[in-house]
């Protein structure tokens, strides 16, 4: 054991250390590249209601997230709850949202939510998912 070790210290040791360092850097670079690809492939623009309406036709069909306030009294359920239509508001503008699927339990009127989906050419928003806040968050309301 002892002979092994002393053979590695000195000239050999420095070379080995360099090799390991280079190996580590390559792995790190690979991870970084993986991250870069990931962000490029999954980045989603996040708008408020006012901002997304200002974008106009530019965002039609593109997957985006929109943050708005659920207008009280605007929630309509169809087909025994399978589909929901509601309005979110922000910056004195409002947007109608159509959603089909399981509504998160945290969803209700008069709260801030984020909807993810795409603007339709008819001016309504087709939501693919509704994002509400994790209920165990401790942020001030």
């Amino acid at each position: 054991m002892a002979e092994h070790r002393s053979a590695e210290v000195g000239g050999h040791g420095v070379l080995k250390r360099k090799r390991i360092l280079i190996g580590g850097l390559i792995v790190t670079a690979a991870i970084g590249y993986l991250g870069f690809l990931g962000i490029r492939g999954t980045a989603i623009y996040y708008y408020t209601v006012g901002e997304v309406l200002d974008q106009g036709r530019a965002v039609y069909g593109e997957t985006v997230r929109v943050n708005g306030h659920v207008v009280p009294g605007s929630v309509v359920t169809e087909q025994a709850g399978l589909r929901m239509i509601f309005t979110i508001a922000g910056q004195e503008k409002s947007l109608e949202v159509l959603y089909q699927g399981a509504m998160p339990d945290a969803f209700r009127e008069d709260i801030d939510i984020v909807v993810e989906g795409a603007m339709d050419s008819d001016g309504t928003f087709r939501a693919r998912s509704i994002l509400t806040k994790c209920p165990s968050r401790y942020e001030p309301e």
Partner: protein
């Protein structure tokens, strides 16, 4: 009662500040008698904070609505366990809980290390006392749990119905305990730097705490995932929410440390790396607490720089600067030990594992902060979806699992390529057989097959090595397998706990792979008598019942489940309409088998008996929870003290 609680916290602040100052002064050598007094200050802090906790819990149990916190988070109709758990349901109470846990851990750590780690305990205790003082300062200023209620109320707001689940009683304190527990290793790291002690000393003080903190965070995260799966009704268990990420990142870093600390003990190297890991874990814990309480992620504009968020940011900044200063001042002490023999030695694979863990954490952090960074630097807010994390963490975790297998065949300080390939033949064969079986039953998805191959390879590698060591000990000591097994675990509980944890991780990976690639779902609107076909299942919707309990209206759908004509029982997904909470809550109905979960959500109902259902089939989810259980057992085993007379590390090494 509230006044006494507030007074206790103020006294605790005084005691902890005194304790910190006295420890530092005593270490400087001038007033050694101060050390005892400083330790008593820390114990007093623990006692005072404990008393505050008792008082708040008592207030909750007696419905003392004179205290605002009791009004906001409890009600007369809550049962005792949930009343106690209200202690950590809200911001102030959960901060008090974390402060209390840190006080207890600090007291235990200091008493335990008083003689064992005499040289290190002084500065370490000072760091713990400073952290504790900071938290108590928050409780006394901006987050007072004993604040009087504005309006005298007869009834409280009660518990958010989503949190009415046994998992939610355990999940927050586990995570809070994990965060608090990470302070101890950091404290000893700072002390190691301050005292200039040999790099190896601090590891013995810290190992148990690192394992404990890891265990708290690991089990806490898995319970959180289980709760999300059964309560939230979207069919998944992890959504890479910033709150979830805040609990994951420190855990990944401390996992890396658990590996590289072993490498430091064996080779004497990686001292600086280990100090950095432990500090990073602590910083991420503080950062995570900051993220989830400051509102900064909702929008950079909600962060005002004063109040809770600002104070945490300030504390984090001060801690980072203090650590960096210590590292720079002591940099001459950081280089020592034998160089890694090669990449293909055990320390080489451990190093690679570390890079992967740190890299994964960095990417998760990047994704979590991306909206903030893009808002600040690009003026427009860009978020990364769930798929970012899955695309990035998936492959990295898979490589790490592969290393679990490969590492079993590496040796310390030796370049072990040729013997490694010979030993690896058996697990590789097992992996290939698994692939053949999978393809045979129809599993063709490339990622799933690759992932399951790695899982089969890793788990058989661990078992083969374990069996080899078992056999070696049995032959050396002429005992039966059982005695050899028990003796083996008692001689090196850290190692065998580690084997169990690796096996648990493989089980979790199998569950994640199965449910990620082969899940299916559909939605349907049904009238009584309709059948929904999902995979091999036929779900017959029979009708809806309604009934009322004292605090809610319950709507239950009756669904009969059959497969190929044979009855498999019933599922009853429900929706609750609470009297005090405006949001309806859905209770998912799940039929679990080893192979898959049948998961049914009641989306809504109409007066005429029509119902909207969402049905999911999630394969292999049970393996995640089983793996979590194995993880827990492995972690507990790793915490067990090594049986001194059994210790004969040489015998296992000889067998390598």
């Amino acid at each position: 009662m509230a006044e006494i609680g507030s007074v206790c916290l103020v006294l605790a602040l005084v005691a902890s500040v005194y304790s910190a100052a006295a420890f530092i002064a005593s270490e400087k050598g001038r007033y050694r008698v101060l050390a005892e007094s400083a330790r008593n200050g820390l114990l007093a802090t623990c006692g005072l904070v404990s008393l505050s906790v008792v008082l708040l819990v008592a207030a909750l149990l007696t419905h003392d609505f004179g205290i605002q916190y009791v009004v906001s988070y409890s009600s007369r109709s809550m049962s005792v366990p949930y009343l106690v758990s209200a202690l950590w349901a809200g911001n102030d109470g959960s901060l008090l809980t974390m402060t209390w846990l840190l006080a207890v851990f600090s007291a235990v750590a200091v008493v335990r290390s008083w003689r064992r780690d005499r040289e290190l305990v002084g500065y370490a205790a000072a760091v713990m006392a400073v952290t504790e003082a900071f938290l108590v300062l928050l409780l006394v200023s901006v987050a007072d749990p004993f604040e009087q209620s504005v309006v005298a109320a007869a009834e409280g707001a009660g518990l958010n119905p989503l949190l009415e689940n046994p998992a939610m009683i355990v999940h927050p304190p586990l995570l809070l305990g994990g965060y608090a527990g990470l302070t101890i290793p950091f404290a000893f790291a700072m002390s190691s730097l301050a005292t200039g002690q040999p790099g190896i000393r601090w590891l013995t003080a810290v190992r148990g705490w690192a394992v404990a903190a890891w265990l708290f965070l690991g089990v806490g995260n898995i319970i959180g995932a289980w709760w999300a799966y059964v309560e939230l009704g979207w069919g998944g268990y992890w959504s890479w929410d910033p709150v979830e990420n805040a609990g994951l990142m420190p855990m990944l870093i401390i996992t890396a440390f658990l590996h590289s600390s072993v490498a430091q003990r064996r080779t004497g190297r990686f001292y600086a790396w280990n100090l950095a890991l432990v500090a990073l874990a602590f910083f991420l814990a503080v950062f995570g607490t900051f993220l989830t309480r400051s509102g900064i992620l909702s929008s950079v504009h909600t962060f005002t720089g004063t109040g809770l968020g600002g104070l945490f940011a300030g504390f984090l900044g001060a801690a980072v600067i203090a650590f960096l200063v210590m590292v720079v001042v002591r940099r001459s002490k950081l280089r020592n030990g034998t160089p890694a023999a090669s990449m293909i030695s055990r320390e080489g694979t451990f190093l690679l594992t570390n890079v992967l863990f740190v890299g994964t954490t960095a990417l998760v952090l990047l994704g979590t902060l991306f909206p903030l960074l893009s808002e600040v630097f690009a003026g427009t807010r860009i978020e990364v979806g769930e798929s970012f994390y899955n695309r990035v963490a998936g492959p990295l975790f898979l490589v790490i699992l592969g290393l679990v297998g490969i590492c079993s065949f590496t040796r310390w300080q030796k370049r072990s390529v040729r013997p490694m390939f010979a030993d690896m033949a058996a697990p590789l064969v097992v992996g290939l057989v698994a692939v053949a079986v999978l393809i045979g039953v129809g599993v063709r998805q490339a990622y799933a097959v690759t992932g399951l191959f790695v899982c089969a390879f890793a788990v058989s590698a661990v078992f083969i090595r374990w069996l080899g060591e078992l056999r070696g000990r049995r032959n050396a000591r002429r005992t039966g397998y059982l005695a050899a097994g028990i003796g083996l675990v008692r001689s090196a509980p850290g190692r065998y706990g580690g084997y169990m944890v690796h096996i648990g991780m493989v089980l979790i990976a199998v569950g994640v792979i199965g449910s990620s690639f082969y899940g299916s779902e559909r939605e349907a609107v049904v009238s009584p008598g309709d059948t929904v076909v999902m995979g091999d299942y036929e779900l017959i919707y029979e009708g809806t019942d309604r009934y009322e309990t004292p605090d809610r209206l319950v709507v239950t759908a009756r669904v009969a489940v059959e497969s190929g004509g044979k009855s498999l029982g019933r599922l009853s997904p429900e929706r609750y309409f609470h009297r005090t909470y405006k949001q309806p809550v859905s209770e998912v109905a799940i039929r679990t088998t080893l192979v898959e979960d049948l998961y049914v959500v009641l989306l809504g109902t109409d007066e005429d008996g029509t119902a909207a259902l969402k049905v999911l089939v999630n394969p292999a989810v049970l393996w995640i929870w089983v793996g979590g259980g194995v993880l827990l057992v492995g972690g507990l085993v790793a915490l067990w003290p090594r049986a001194r007379h059994e210790g004969d590390m040489g015998s296992e090494d000889r067998g390598q």
